[in-house]
Amino acid sequence: MGLDLPLFFVGVIALSVLLYVVLDGFDLGVGILFPFARNAQDRDVMMNTVAPVWDGNETWLVLGGNVLLAAFPLAFAVLMPALYLPILIMLVALILRGVAFEFRFRARVRGRALWTAMFSLGSLLTAFAQGLILGGFIQGVEVVNGRFAGEPFDWLTPYTLLVAVGVVAGYALLGACWIVLKTEDELHGDARRWAWISGGLVMASLGAVSLATVLVHPRVASRWGLPGFLADNEAAGPDGPVATAAEAVGELAAAPDRAVDLTQLLPLLAIPALGLAGFALLAWGLRRKAHRLPFLGAMLIFLSGYIGLAVSFTPFIAPYGLTYQQAAAAPNTLSFMLVVVSVLLPLILGYTAWVYFVFRGKVRPDAGYH
């Protein structure tokens, strides 16, 4: 039996997106935390911790998009128009924050204030838009005949807004832990406080998102072996379920004995357990003033959330209209891509690691970074 090529590329995309979320996550987080810095010098240091690597980090997003196009063109052609406006917001925000790195260095007084604000606003909006995209993705898009057939604002629901808030909190946490790792003195102390606060927000929003996902998306619930509270409302469309979420809670209270499939649920509990381990590591690391552990903890939290999501909507690549098998590119496209990816991806990972190695260690204000 040969290699399952579509599955291999699901893995490649999953890896790109995971690397993107963790890597660009921390540099977007640094931007989100910008308004909380004490002074201009702290902001300079914060920006300098990410300036040499942000461009490479962002490239994982481009890779994810382009491998989706190359390996699953049908999914690409469905998802992009379906999530048109959130993607537009993300692109515009990415432009503003991307140019802000250079522009802020160049600008004089007023321009500097402007591009400081743009960096911060752009980072926040990028994170928020990515949350909308993720939420819209989980709640599913309408596919007829292999094409997107929904409405322009299908993605906009209370659920997606909740996910968006969660992503902002998550990136802020990564950013705070990154600053803890890369700086010293007062800024380092501030970042530890930011990590506590955003860590709490992440815990709350991750919990809320998990609960909401199970409550409003019966498919996901049944994947986790939980009773499909809203099985009857499935046809209600993307904005229907949320309105009835409250009913669902009521229903749950009324019928606590509805079957929970333990054989399904128990093995999957390892995923939230990983997340809890992440939170524990974060809290422990922050408490004993460790420099690296909090970032490690934050990464574990992201990993658990990520795997949890992946488990929830497998095998769909454009939920819930196209599976990854249905959306896969022609076999000869995939085998061509296999050769390309297996040669180049290790190489890219290698030199990316080298760049991080070159820029290892603390960033000090007096050295002007270098």
């Binding site: 461009d55 390996a71 432009i95 000869n332 180049l344």
Partner: protein, 467 residues
């Protein structure tokens, strides 16, 4: 997609890609120029080259950043606005775009960090390697994107499956499709010309202000040497590209040349006002008997005019006709400037001929304009197809409503206006200041923020090359 959404989508793509192409057109050449400067510095140990490097790398950083962010828009726009195009051709074109990311974008993005911020982190040789990697990255990126675009002009190596979607049958023929070699050469050469004209113009500007500025004298010579050789070469390369068009896209050639009538012994129309309704050129000024010769064809050979193609396949002839003439006109001016520079150089008066310097300053944006006009010729001339002869633009669009596309078009126009204005302002400021001279390097960059890109450069200068 309804008609308005289609039109708005086309305007949006045209607008965003025209904005985007300005930056690669400049950074492809500038990355190579920086690699040459740093190599010369390491090899000759002359600090003059390093000062030039440190100056141009600042301009590079701004342009490159703008190129990156406007490029991300392009790759996502293919999906958001042109999802049918991707649905039909994704099997064939998808890998080319993915290859661009894998072979070029990561290379550029990762080593750019070392190039801009790594002066004190790595040795001079490793730093040089980073610069070379960025230059290779920009060239590789050009390779793949021109390959994909050339496939849209001259699709090859594919077959249509039962469901109408395309599959590749021969990857080498997909990548090295018929128009690719000529168009890649034409574009790379255009990018180098664009950079040479900017470097030449900026150096000339400095020399008009301070005539003994050693860095600018050197940079001017390098630039003039480059465009004096490359501008005439580009004429030959462009002609080659034109022959490929004539062979594979005869309809586009007819539009470029303003040939309405299929006949032997075509004239050469210099100027005129092509009129699609009337099917002729108004006010045309033509040279009879040389059209075929320009095309490299014998006089008796029949060249197809627009009349031999169905009317619904005609592009907007006026745009194609005139953008081509502007491009060629600018190219001829570049040849003229190069020849003038070469003569003055031979007479030892290159840096002191103030009229030449003024001309070089005014020609510095010529490369950008020529690139834009060239792309308009190529892309408008491909219409009404998105993949020539395979898929019509009208059938390539996403299922969107005009409101969405209109909103995004507005958003991009506003954001690009802000970003472009600011970026241009910063670049002009830098060009106005010019490279540090030996005398000026005593008090370097005190006004700068600590995080300023080349903050470490003055210190690094003291160390000199280790090699």
């Amino acid at each position: 997609m309804d008609f308005d959404a289609l039109l708005l989508g086309r305007i949006q793509f045209g607008f965003t890609i025209a904005f985007h192409i300005l930056f690669p057109a400049f950074t492809i050449g500038l990355a190579s120029y920086l690699a040459v400067l740093e190599g010369l510095w390491l090899f000759t140990k002359r600090d003059l080259f390093k000062r030039l490097y440190l100056f141009w790398v600042k301009v590079f950083a701004i342009s490159f950043g703008m190129g990156v962010v406007s490029g991300i828009v392009m790759s996502y726009q293919l999906g958001t606005n042109w999802s049918e195009f991707m649905r039909v051709t994704g099997n064939v074109l998808g890998p080319l775009f993915a290859l661009e990311v894998l072979t070029a974008f990561f290379l550029e993005a990762s080593f750019l960090g070392v190039m801009l911020f790594g002066w004190k982190k790595v040795g001079p040789r490793l730093h040089f390697l980073a610069t070379v990697m960025v230059a290779i990255g920009t060239a590789t990126s050009t390779f793949w994107i021109i390959s994909a675009n050339s496939w849209m002009q001259t699709p090859d190596g594919f077959a249509a499956a039962a469901d109408g979607r395309l599959v590749a049958t021969d990857w080498l023929r997909v990548i090295f499709n018929p128009s690719f070699p000529a168009r890649l050469t034409h574009m790379v050469s255009a990018a180098y010309l664009t950079t040479a004209l900017v470097v030449g113009g900026a150096s000339a500007y400095q020399l008009l202000k301070r005539r003994d500025h050693a860095e600018s004298r050197m940079a001017l010579k390098m630039a003039v040497g480059m465009f004096a050789l490359l501008a005439p070469a580009q004429l030959v390369i462009g002609h080659w590209s034109g022959e490929v068009v004539g062979h594979h896209q005869p309809l586009k050639r007819a539009a470029i040349e303003g040939y309405w009538e299929t006949r032997a012994d075509q004239p050469l129309h210099l100027v005129g006002v092509p009129d699609r309704e009337a099917g002729r050129n108004h006010f045309q000024v033509s040279v009879p008997g040389v059209g075929n010769i320009i095309q490299g064809l014998p006089k008796e050979e029949v060249i197809r005019g627009l009349d031999s193609f169905p009317r619904q396949d005609w592009p907007v002839v006026f745009l194609v006709f005139w953008s081509f003439r502007f491009m060629v006109g600018l190219g001829l001016l570049m040849i003229g400037l190069g020849a003038w520079g070469a003569v003055q150089w031979a007479r030892g008066r290159l840096e002191s001929d103030r009229w030449f310097l003024r001309a070089a300053v005014s020609m510095s944006p010529a490369g950008f304009l020529a690139v834009l006009f060239g792309w308009i010729t190529a892309e408008v001339g491909r219409q009404p197809y998105v993949a020539y002869g395979v898929l019509r633009t009208a059938d390539a669009a996403s299922p969107l409503v005009a409101g969405q596309v209109g909103a995004s078009l507005m958003a991009f126009m506003v954001i690009y206006a802000i970003v472009f204005t600011a970026g241009a302002l910063f670049i002009f400021r830098l060009l106005h200041e010019g490279p540090e001279s030996v005398a000026g390097s005593e008090a370097p960059y005190v006004q700068r923020a600590p995080g300023w890109t080349m903050g470490a450069a003055p210190q690094a200068e003291a160390e000199g090359p280790v090699s």
